[in-house]
Symmetry: C2
Subunit: 393 residues, 2 copies
């Protein structure tokens, strides 16, 4: 591993005695972050309404951009011409890109989020793409162009984007798929992992580190088989692969049985998790980094995050905030959260002023970073249970 990733390091600073949780330090060419930590989503190379500088001022340590969306538009050649993601996002800290696998999965469900979550219980329609051993084909939502995403191309594209932490291509699955499909898919993702490592090794310039993904749906034997192989593959980090089941319980179970089998010396990322209860569950299972669009997406819906509030949320659209001169968070270390009142944000949300999303995005970043700072302090002091109680309210 040292030869493939000379400029990256993951140190476990303190393992927890009661759970799999650990305090860690993840070093990249663009800086070191303390873990557990949260990665903010800059889907199209933009953090919704925040500049990189503003996200940093609100406390963000690391951000993410989506390979699939940037492949569709503006294209990896254009991103490279513009100097790569760090330059485009005016962000000098670490950046992660995903592999595009998750969005291809969404394409297979025609982007219908109810279908993704299997609420409709319909079989997936794959009208817009096909997946086979070679890779995935889909049509660009931007200009209709047919795009081919193979494991090798995912590596090439992510190299052009220039993030620090990158991902192997994998196939996501859901509870609509049976066990045979899961077994075949998981083994194909393993072979895709081998191909990604091969391409990565051939083109490695020391600036990126590759994460592997453990798949296998909610089948214990498949998850264990996947984890055993990914453990041996020459990845820098590991991720618990997505699975869209019917309930939260299945998610927690999958993470638990996957984390039991994942080697402990690599950083582990959990894709797409942002709810406070899932974060505490993930931390206890040894997850080191999380990402989710929720903090910024909720800001766009007029919702602010707050320690101890129900589901950590206050919906500022509610008329009870009319004229409320309480600061968003009087105790925040972030000045914007102390300066703006809930009543002002209620008004700006009502008036559909873009400032509402902007202020709430920065505030929500600050709250997420407060959450993770307190989680790390709690791990240092063995007081995670107490910390969880305070945050869940």
């Amino acid at each position: 591993m040292t030869t493939l990733y000379p400029n990256f390091k993951f140190d476990i600073v303190k393992p927890c005695t009661k759970t799999r949780a650990r305090l860690g330090r993840l070093t990249t060419p663009h800086g070191t972050i303390n873990t557990p930590n949260f990665i903010f989503c800059g889907t199209h190379a933009g953090l919704r309404s925040m500049t990189g500088e503003e996200a940093k001022a609100a406390g963000a340590d690391i951000v993410l951009a989506n390979t699939y969306h940037l492949l569709v538009r503006p294209g990896p050649d254009v991103v490279a011409k513009l100097g790569g993601l760090h330059k485009m996002m005016v962000w000098d800290g670490p950046i992660m890109t995903d592999s595009g696998g998750f969005q291809i999965f969404i394409m297979g469900y025609e982007g219908n989020s109810d279908e993704i979550k299997m609420r409709g219980k319909k079989a997936p329609k794959k009208s817009l793409f096909k997946i086979n051993e070679e890779g995935a084909w889909f049509y660009s939502y931007h200009n209709g162009e047919k795009i081919h995403l193979t494991p090798e191309r995912s590596m090439d594209v992510q190299k052009a984007l220039g993030a620090d932490l990158i991902y192997q291509l994998d196939e996501c699955t859901s509870s609509a798929h049976g066990k045979n499909y899961h077994a075949d898919s998981m083994r194909m993702s393993l072979r895709w992992g081998d191909r990604c490592i091969k391409r990565f090794t051939e083109t490695n310039d020391g600036k990126q580190a590759l994460y592997g993904i453990v798949q296998g749906g909610n089948y214990e034997d498949l998850r264990l088989e996947s984890a055993a192989r990914v453990n041996e593959q020459d990845f820098f980090g590991m991720a618990v692969g997505g699975y869209f089941g019917k309930s939260k319980d299945s998610l927690v179970d999958i993470v638990a049985l996957t984390m039991e089998a994942i080697r402990r010396d690599r950083p582990v990322h959990m894709l797409g998790i942002g709810h406070v209860e899932d974060i505490f569950a993930g931390v206890k299972q040894g997850i080191d980094t999380f990402d989710c669009v929720e903090p910024t997406r909720l800001a766009g819906h007029g919702t602010m995050l707050l320690k101890g509030a129900p589901r950590m949320r206050l919906n500022l659209r509610n008329s009870k905030f009319r004229g409320d001169d309480t600061p968003l968070d009087a105790t925040s270390v972030f000045h914007i959260s102390r300066q703006y009142t809930r009543g002002t944000l209620h008004h700006l949300v009502q008036a559909q002023e873009p400032l509402a999303e902007h202020v709430l995005s920065m505030h929500n970043v600050a709250v997420m970073m407060q959450l993770f700072r307190e989680i790390r302090e709690a791990l240092a002091n063995d007081t995670l249970e107490q910390c969880e109680k305070e945050w869940l309210g």
Copy 2:
């Protein structure tokens, strides 16, 4: 005047020898600004996607909020409860509020901007309101409530909002109105001015200064009659009242004949002017401050301002900016304008990322402030013609 406005001052630093232009200094309880200067519009007490701090970082000296919109929502009582406009906008510099007259005029044209500009040449429909000697009645677009705006109420509302510079209530007119209407309307606005001064004087706490408005459409005799009376009324500042004609020429003529008659010792504001050629024309006529939604509105349409560009604009939607790694403005004093490239903004506009409007708003503020800084330097050095040539391109 000194007794009514003890905490306000307008100094003419240097009159221009060739034109009516002058360098000035406008002092308010929230700071002193150099004139000529530009006032950025925070319609609903929000500068589109900028916090007050961000607008200040981009260079803004003074901002404006709209009495009419804030009267409709959230209401002056709520603004007062939230600590007034300075607190709501997290802005410690000077603030101006208009009187609501302009928006009432728009209401009369059912908010149709083509009708406002008389392109349709239809007679105005006043279905939503009525205006008479007492004041104006209209229905809230927010909740249908019937709202009564009299000169006295405009003073009370603007006092609750708490801006530094406030306006008398007036009636705007257009080229669809004949001379008789204009004469009657202008004289009614003068009587409204008297009523505003009376109410202002009764409730004056030294924190606000009142501007009068010269009306009279494009009729020279009416403008001169109006200016003569407003000169005598106990206002701190003066404004050239709106008139919606068919061409730019009529606007320039109206400003010229109004400015000939306006007393020279008071600051003069020109409402709703933001095009670079109009600004130079206005400065030469002795206008001290301008306001317009254009810099932020254009940002929402993907347009950046730039010295010397045609109409001072670059439309970043244009596909020629794809992959263009030229900074927005490499020579800007504002770091955001140097850090972000035109190609990145082209992409963010295409991807409909809110960040595009946010970055372009701050950039456009920076360019407007560069324009006015250079205008002031040119006035100091008697090089306004040269400055105008450089900016018009």
